[in-house]
């Protein structure tokens, strides 16, 4: 087995108003299906503890499930466990109409954290990041500047950002520029 590497191999920026770093590879599975189907609910519960409500993410330790659309979830597991998880899904959902695809390596994952992390995000995504509006457990499938991205808070003022692997460098540069020194907004 050859070592799998993430797009930017852990690049980080910490010379600004928030810190940005690329997180390593994360196991990710696109699961499409009927989110009210009993078998599917059971299978997802086994991973994330529950089915996430629309526009939220269900997190359990390192695993999780994020609501992507009325018939799509993004399942998150340790990178090494992806194939076995898909096998389990295939077995437990046998007979229902669904699709489980490994998209772990099609993604890059970043963390933006610090007291001004909300502002950094609010410079790039058309989302209300004020503490009253964007809370723990919320999940958005939106865009950051010119590329698609999904994000949520892993803890207060610490955002996890997921984008396509091909634009990892753009995303890192973008987040670093939005976090540049002296760019505090102090409005959220």
């Amino acid at each position: 087995m050859f070592e799998a590497v993430s797009a930017l191999q852990g690049a980080s920026f910490n010379a600004g108003i928030a810190e940005v770093r690329e997180l390593g590879l994360r196991g990710m599975i696109t699961l499409r299906g009927d989110l009210t189907d009993k078998k599917l609910i059971k299978a997802v519960k086994g991973i994330a503890g529950r089915i996430p409500e629309p526009r939220t993410v269900a997190l359990k330790d390192d695993d999780g499930a994020a609501w992507m659309s009325p018939d799509e979830l993004l399942l998150m597991v340790p990178h090494a466990d992806v194939l076995s998880t898909i096998e389990t899904l295939n077995a437990s959902l046998k007979g229902t109409h669904f699709l489980a695809a490994n998209v772990s390596d099609a993604r890059a994952v970043f963390e933006v954290f610090g007291p001004h992390a909300r502002e950094v995000m609010a410079k790039l995504a058309p989302v209300d990041f004020s503490p009253d509006a964007f809370k723990m457990g919320m999940f958005r499938r939106s865009r950051l500047a010119q590329v698609p991205a999904a994000f949520w808070m892993n803890e207060e003022d610490a955002f996890t950002v997921v984008c396509f692997r091909s634009v990892a460098e753009y995303m890192f540069d973008l987040l670093s520029i939005a976090a540049q020194a002296g760019s505090e907004v102090d409005a959220l």
């Binding site: 087995m1 050859f2 070592e3 799998a4 590497v5 993430s6 797009a7 590879l25 696109t30 499409r32 299906g33 018939d71 109409h97 669904f98 699709l99 695809a101 490994n102 998209v103 772990s104 390596d105 099609a106 993604r107 502002e119 609010a122 410079k123 790039l124 995504a125 058309p126 989302v127 209300d128 990041f129 004020s130 009253d132 509006a133 500047a145 010119q146 590329v147 396509f164 692997r165 091909s166 634009v167 990892a168 460098e169 753009y170 540069d173 973008l174 520029i177 939005a178 540049q180 020194a181 002296g182 760019s183 505090e184 907004v185 409005a187």
Partner: protein, 1005 residues
């Protein structure tokens, strides 16, 4: 002369000394100054030359409405033209230069235009430059381009070193304008508990109230403002920003705010401007009002200013514009200027009030101070050249007969006040004409409407036509309260503030001064300072039939300059109405468009500059390729290697080497960008049968099939290889550019048309690094790496298998886009680089070399394979490319089938694909047309074909090409002409497009 007063200004009190550079002169200013106040403090009355006649112009206003004081600012890479002095805060070391003059501000050759002004009337350009026709291109246009524009454009080679950013913000209520009305409205809204954003374009809260005085709830206006600011600052649900202009209001409460972060102090670290992209539940515009100039002769001589501006410079900046100020007005407010100046010990020789009845209490106050007041009088003309030296007094009712000359160096004029209705109007708010106050104000019955039909903008204070503090403060309170309630706030019990009543006499409209001014005076009475439009120009436009205000605007250029006519519009349309003999509301206004004042291009672009100007998509092999000589080619947002250059090679050399090496040894291609879509479900086969023109449902598991996709109009949109993964699952390869669009295409059909079919699609393009291993040695290298059987028997042509190669989990497709023995191998993107390197190491003994997209193209063209985007351009159908074999006759339907039966699609005369072999072996230019005898109805040469792909083939040592030619397949062997742009002709023979290995023996070994 204009100078700094002993009494400090509100904004400059205790400010540090600053120095700045104006046209090379070192001048001094004070912290808190604007450029305008600093220039006036240095007795710099003349600040620029007018656009058309190059007349000397001075500062007129003290805010965003200023038409004249525009400067070139900064130098080299920070240079910017047309910076408004009245809204630019002074900083130490500022470097500014005046505009639109040559050679100097003091002596300008262009000023000669003023002597020929009667030959440059409105519409001059339209009349003059019509004939002779040929003169436009060669004489007129170059001349106009020379003289067009006020400021200089920045140099093309300079790069702005500053950064900019956007910021998304959401509020229940947004209040635009931080004057007393905006503050009061924000407080009232905030008391209902909703989230409030209050923005102010200047650096200071309070607007005009602290200058104009008055009382609210028994407190002087400035004290009341201080209290409001303190209260709002303490409220957690209120966000307050100065130096942030509400620039535009758009649908659904979307509002743009333009924040200037470092303009006042360029040494501050961080972005220069920030564009706020705001969603507000409700918007309250408390944008105030702008004083109007009066149209009298020579009202553009430096020293003629708005009365409010003269007052502002004295009170806010401690600057006196002159020693002797004549005030001319049609309303009571201007008296405040006279009283203020007198109080500072300056001379006010006369207040000229055009109203026969004069003013109310303020007149008594002025008279008590010993100021002479002349009622029913007017200015016949202003005397002076580069600055005012005096005025000629006359009766307002007459034609300008001289009564007296009064010496002065400043004329403070006030033609009444116009509410700033721009933001109200941006999204469709309507106006009504308020006859008693002689201005347009927002019609509260017809606001801009939101998604539910509700008004989402309201207006407060003087912007709403309430010019008296006593009315204004209650109006603002009510507007704020209503906005809070409209956005879900709870009605709050708050006392309605009360302003002390004043007794002012009503304004009387004075659109022309004196009322009966003749043409000689009219042609020196300026309406639009920035675009040099006079009263006589507007009258001429009306006379020539430009009755619509929008037409008259464009004909005369009234209000078309960078200030968008903030001072001139109402005066201009009053003159137009008068000339047309109709009331002003019938003439109406021109359209108010955002932004309110110009905002920087940098702010609009935001962070998108330099390395994040545009996202670049990179495959896992990008860095390796970049380190190994890749000459990059943009393919959509991707960058793909066009060729890999070895030291000393040209691109052409590299391509030729790659082409030969791949045919003779082993080529490796990064094919990761190809789209990969998983299509799964019980109806997946049925679905793909509809999408592809050929049959996919019959494909066996483990097999691959090439397929074509057409739009419902029959045109080819994509092609690629489909692999059947299992009974319910297919993997569809798309072109690089098609990955997202075909994914969207599939989703659209599934969501809108075949929503009851059980099919799911997922785009897994980026999950895999896909590498094409191509050439006679392809199998050898895979066998050397080992792990799975890739022999002909185990993995035949157009088959695929999962397995491991050299320890990598891989899916191997035995497909070929080159005509060679070829495998496309998908491994996970995270292992892509390791696998690529393993192939190179193992392949070294077999002559492995990477190849780029150009080699890919040449190899496929030698085989006559079509490329979406080369052979197709959105107008090409499969039949044109002789792909009838891929159009299923068994299927009842598929996208494009019906369209192909339309008469034009079935026309046998359509241009069809052929190979083209140049007689002299040269390379045809891409896109060249094959020409016929004669010309068409447009006088163009008749054509019957065009080149779609053309390359130099190193294998064949000559140019090869494909093209679409009328009746092409029936004309094999015929030699046709392709003229080049240099006039020469290339002759090419029509041949079979498959040039290399016609029987396909090489790929099937």
């Amino acid at each position: 002369m204009s100078t700094r007063l002993k009494t400090a200004g509100r904004f400059t009190d205790g400010g540090a000394q600053l120095s700045f550079d104006f046209n090379g002169k070192k001048l001094k200013g004070v912290e808190g100054d604007t450029l305008a106040s600093a220039l006036l403090a240095n007795d710099q009355m003349m600040v620029g030359r007018s656009f058309k006649y190059h007349r000397p112009r001075g500062i007129v206003a003290s805010g965003g409405e200023e038409p004249n004081a525009l400067f070139n600012m900064g130098y080299t890479n920070t240079f910017e033209p047309n910076q408004r002095a009245t809204t630019t805060e002074l900083f130490d070391g500022a470097k500014i230069g005046s505009q639109n003059h040559w050679p100097t501000l003091e002596f300008d050759v262009g000023a000669l235009n003023t002597y020929i002004s009667r030959f440059l009337p409105a519409g001059f350009y339209y009349k003059m430059f019509m004939y002779p026709r040929a003169f436009w291109k060669h004489v007129y246009e170059p001349f106009i381009r020379q003289s067009a524009g006020l400021g200089k454009a920045p140099r093309a080679e300079d790069r702005d070193p500053d950064t900019y950013e956007h910021f998304y913000f959401f509020a229940d209520v947004m209040v635009v304008g931080g004057g007393i009305a905006g503050l009061q409205a924000a407080k009232a809204a905030a008391l209902t508990g909703v989230k409030v954003l209050l923005v102010e374009q200047t650096a200071h809260w309070g607007g005009r109230a602290p200058v104009d005085g008055g009382e609210v709830d028994g407190l002087p206006a400035d004290k009341y403002v201080d209290n409001l600011v303190a209260e709002l600052s303490a409220m957690e649900n209120v966000t307050m920003r100065t130096r942030l202009m509400g620039a535009g209001v758009y649908d659904h409460g979307y509002t743009l705010g333009y924040e200037r972060l470092t303009d006042h102090a360029p040494d501050i670290v961080g972005p220069r401007h920030r564009l706020w992209r705001i969603r507000a539940g409700h918007i309250v515009t408390a944008t105030g009002a702008i004083e109007r100039p009066i149209s009298f002769a020579s009202n553009d001589i430096p020293g003629v200013m708005l009365a409010s501006a003269v007052r502002d410079y004295a009170v806010n900046f401690g600057v006196s514009v002159g020693d002797r100020t004549v005030v001319v007005t049609n309303n009571d407010d201007a008296y405040r200027t006279a009283i203020t100046l007198k109080g500072l010990g300056l001379d006010v020789p006369c207040i000229i009030d055009a109203r026969a009845g004069g003013a109310g209490a303020l007149a008594e106050e002025a008279k008590a101070l010993g100021i002479r007041v002349e009622n029913g009088k007017a200015i016949s003309k202003v005397k002076g050249g580069k600055r005012v030296t005096g005025i000629v007094l006359c009766a307002q009712a007459g034609e300008g007969g001289v009564l007296e000359e009064i010496e002065c160096d400043v004329v403070a004029m006030s033609g009444g006040w116009s509410p700033v209705v721009h933001l109200w109007s941006h999204c469709g708010g309507k106006l009504i004409w308020d006859d008693p106050q002689s201005h347009f104000r927002p019609d509260s019955e017809r606001p801009p409407l939101g998604a539910k039909g509700e008004g989402f903008v309201s207006v407060a204070g003087s912007a709403n036509g309430h010019l008296q503090l006593a009315e204004l403060i209650g109006d603002a309170h009510g507007a704020g309260l209503d906005a809070g309630k409209a956005t879900g706030g709870k009605p709050a019990k708050a006392a309605i503030p009360e302003g002390a009543p004043t007794s002012e006499h009503p304004v009387e409209p004075v659109w022309l001064m004196p009322q009966g001014a003749g043409i000689k005076l009219l042609s020196k009475a300026w309406l639009d300072y920035q675009n040099d439009v006079k009263v006589s120009d507007v009258q001429l436009a009306a006379q020539e039939g430009f009755e619509s205000v929008e037409h008259a605007k464009r004909y005369t250029t009234l209000g078309m300059a960078t200030d968008q006519g903030k001072l001139s519009n109402i005066n201009g349309l009053a003159i137009l109405s008068d000339a047309l003999g109709q009331p002003i509301p019938q003439t109406g206004t021109t359209t108010f468009r955002p932004p309110y004042t110009p905002i920087s291009m940098g702010a609009i672009g935001g962070e998108a500059k330099g390395k994040v100007f545009q996202p670049l998509r990179k495959t896992p092999l990008y860095e390796w390729s970049d380190n190994n000589g890749a000459d990059w080619e943009p393919v959509g947002a991707w960058r793909r290697p066009f060729a890999y250059l070895q030291p000393g090679e040209s691109v052409h050399d590299a391509v030729n080497r790659e082409v030969k090496n791949t045919r003779e040894n082993l080529g490796l291609l990064d094919a990761s960008t190809l789209g990969k879509l998983v299509v799964k479900g019980p109806d997946a086969g049925k679905f793909l049968d509809m999408l592809y023109t050929n049959m996919m449902s019959t494909l066996k598991v483990g097999k691959c099939r090439y397929g074509l996709m057409c739009s419902e109009n029959g045109f080819l949109i994509d092609d690629g290889v489909v692999a059947r993964v299992d009974d319910e699952t297919f993997l569809c390869h798309t072109t690089t550019g098609g990955a997202e669009t075909i994914h969207g295409h599939m989703e659209e059909w599934l969501q809108t048309e075949w929503w009851d079919w059980n099919v799911y699609v997922a785009n897994v393009t980026e999950q895999y690094a896909q590498i094409a291993v191509v050439g006679p040695n392809a199998r050898k290298v895979l066998e050397k790496l080992g792990g799975m059987d890739v022999s002909k028997d185990a993995l035949g042509f157009m088959e695929w298998a999962d397995g491991t190669i050299g320890g990598f989990d891989a899916r191997v497709y035995r497909i070929s886009f080159s005509g060679e023995l070829s495998y496309e191998i998908a491994v996970s993107a995270a292992q892509g680089l390791a696998f690529w390197e393993a192939l190179h190491t193992a392949g070294e003994e077999f002559g492995a070399m990477p190849y780029g997209t150009e080699t890919l193209h040449i190899l496929r063209a030698e085989k006559g394979f079509i490329m979406i985007g080369d052979e197709t351009d959105g107008t090409v159908i499969p039949q044109d490319l002789n792909l009838q074999w891929a159009l299923s006759k068994k299927k009842e339907d598929y996208l494009g089938k019906r369209a192909h039966q339309r008469s034009h699609m079935a026309d046998p005369e359509r241009w069809k694909l052929v190979g083209l072999e140049t007689v002299d072996k040269s390379v045809l230019p891409d896109g060249a047309y094959a020409v016929d005898e004669g010309v068409n109805a447009n006088g163009q040469r008749n054509m019957f074909g065009r080149v779609t792909s053309t390359y130099y083939s190193a294998n064949l040592e000559r140019g090869i090409a494909m093209g679409l030619v009328k009746n092409g397949p029936d004309r094999m062997g015929e030699v046709i002409d392709f003229p080049k742009t240099d006039g020469t002709i290339i002759k090419a023979k029509i041949v079979n497009p498959v040039i290399y290995d016609k029987d396909g023996e090489k790929q099937n070994v």
